[in-house]
């Protein structure tokens, strides 16, 4: 069987569809996500990113079109449990996701719901806690955790379900920069271990490690491609009101002054490499 892991066909979603004040949020989205792919979705508030995320695990059912996870449509109610074990979701505010008052109980909640037998349960909980560096805190109350640790706990709780894909709906938005970095490093490790990641964010720096980026605007995909390709499209990004990551913004300015730098330059390391090798190259 050779179908993509996640396939989205002509997806449209309208809030309050049957009322006299419908709000269209997604229009005719077509997208595939491969196993193990790291996809970043960016866009302004109201562009439909969050709605798209919730369509990926059947929390929202398409108004039109289909979302197929491993061949199973999310419209099929009987398929929802298997779909949700394959596609795990982490939300923005950890406090509103936590159901228990002990860290390890929280991580166990998901697999407990699935009836996972006790030995396997213990193993999954321990693995998830170790992966998210929360092992020492396993008997504590989530209330004692810092904001960054809470975000990692939310991820651990989803990891324990053994998903193939992790969807993060702006999980770093309310974090301080250090915690944000830790979460991103965690995501990269998970990705290297084979997990597909769909990360929704409006921090442009977070997009850099992704395999692919999608820029959403008013319910549609406005731009798509590798981070390099997308960030090279300066005019479109300007029009959409989106920033470049800082190194790319600096490179753009230098290029305009005549210094020779590749158009897809994204990271600080690349900037250092190019500027300290050929010193004085340009003009």
């Amino acid at each position: 069987m050779d179908h993509p892991f996640i396939r989205i066909e002509n997806l449209s979603y309208t809030y309050n569809a049957q009322t006299d004040a419908p709000i269209p949020a997604l229009r005719q989205i077509n997208l595939t996500i491969a196993r193990g792919e790291y996809l970043s979705i960016v866009g302004h508030n109201g562009s439909g990113k969050s709605t798209l995320a919730k369509c990926l695990n059947g929390l929202l059912i398409p108004t039109e079109g289909e979302v197929l996870i491993d061949g199973q449509p999310t419209r099929n109610e009987d398929a929802l449990i298997p779909i949700r074990t394959q596609v795990g979701m982490v939300f923005q505010n950890p406090d509103n996701q936590f159901v228990t008052t002990v860290v390890e109980d929280e991580v166990a909640f998901g697999p407990e719901n699935l009836g996972v037998p006790r030995d396997e349960l213990r193993r999954r909980v321990d693995d998830a806690l170790i992966a998210t560096h929360l092992w020492e805190w396993r008997k504590h109350s989530p209330r004692h955790l810092s904001a960054g640790q809470k975000a990692r706990l939310a991820i651990a709780a989803t990891l324990a379900m053994a998903p193939d894909c992790l969807v993060l709906d702006e999980s770093t938005a309310m974090l301080d920069p250090v915690s944000r970095r830790n979460v991103l490093a965690l995501l990269q490790t998970l990705h290297q271990d084979g997990l597909a990641i769909v990360a929704i964010t409006h921090f442009m720096e977070e997009v850099v490690p992704a395999d692919r980026v999608i820029v959403m605007e008013r319910g549609q995909i406005a731009l798509q491609g590798t981070p390099r390709d997308v960030f090279a499209q300066h005019e479109t990004l300007d029009r959409l009101g989106l920033n470049l990551p800082p190194a790319a913004a600096i490179a753009r300015g230098l290029r305009q002054r005549g210094i020779d730098l590749p158009p897809g330059l994204l990271t600080t390391q690349e900037l250092v490499r190019h500027l300290t090798q050929g010193k004085g190259a340009g003009a």
């Binding site: 949700r84 228990t100 166990a108 006790r118 909980v125």
Partner: protein
Amino acid sequence: MASYDALRHLAIGQYIPAESPIHRLDPRAKLVATGLLILVVVVITGYLTNLLMLGLVLGLVLVARLSPRYILASIVPALPVIIVLALLQLLFYSGGSESTVRVLLTWGPVRITNAGVRMVIVSLMRFVDLVFLTSLLTNTTTTGALTHGMESLLRPLSTIGLPGHELALTGAIALRFLPILGEQLESIGQAQASRGVSHQAQSRWRLVRNARQLAALIVPLFVDVYRRSEEMVMAMQARCYQGGKGRTHLNELRFTGADYVALAASALLLAVAIIAQRVGIW
């Protein structure tokens, strides 16, 4: 702003970790024992029995390494209401069906009887007992253990359709959110105060004014609660919650000797209390 961190100070519902024989008891034993002890409190009506019971409950609180002062502090915001009710009872209760009612004082419609006095004092003692007993349960048991225990006890009823786990989980989540909502209430109060709502110089005794201001605080709190519960439902769905059926547990519950002792002692106490009431020992 003192009145608004009342919920944050609530001893009821907050797990306070410690090492004590009571902390170590199985939650099912604790739930049943608490129920039995509450029945005891309901049953006894005399000075002596209530004094003994109060002493026992206080003793249990100390064994659990909890601070009676901290627990009592959580009643303080409710004090005005309690005192008003007590006063009404004192002034108007005329002794019901007892044969030895003696009137102590009359003044117009007001009649203070010895039965009234006893009722007020006993009621106050009972109230304190209940506060201590509920704190004893919730301060020594994590909400996870409580949920597990409650669900386990309710499981036999699932054959007649009672959703035990859902109920237990709902209760646990509600308890868990009390301090969070307390903080929210505090923030809301502070935000309103910052815009000129004067909560200043309000003593606890200006009941009507406090009630109106409380109403202005409740609206944003309700909106907040609603928003949070929407998110929580989505998160639970995402983690495949399907009710109690087929759920396994990370930490199994197991009865030990101490649990049987606690249950037996509570049942015995209830029996003794009923007998004492019958026989007339007060």
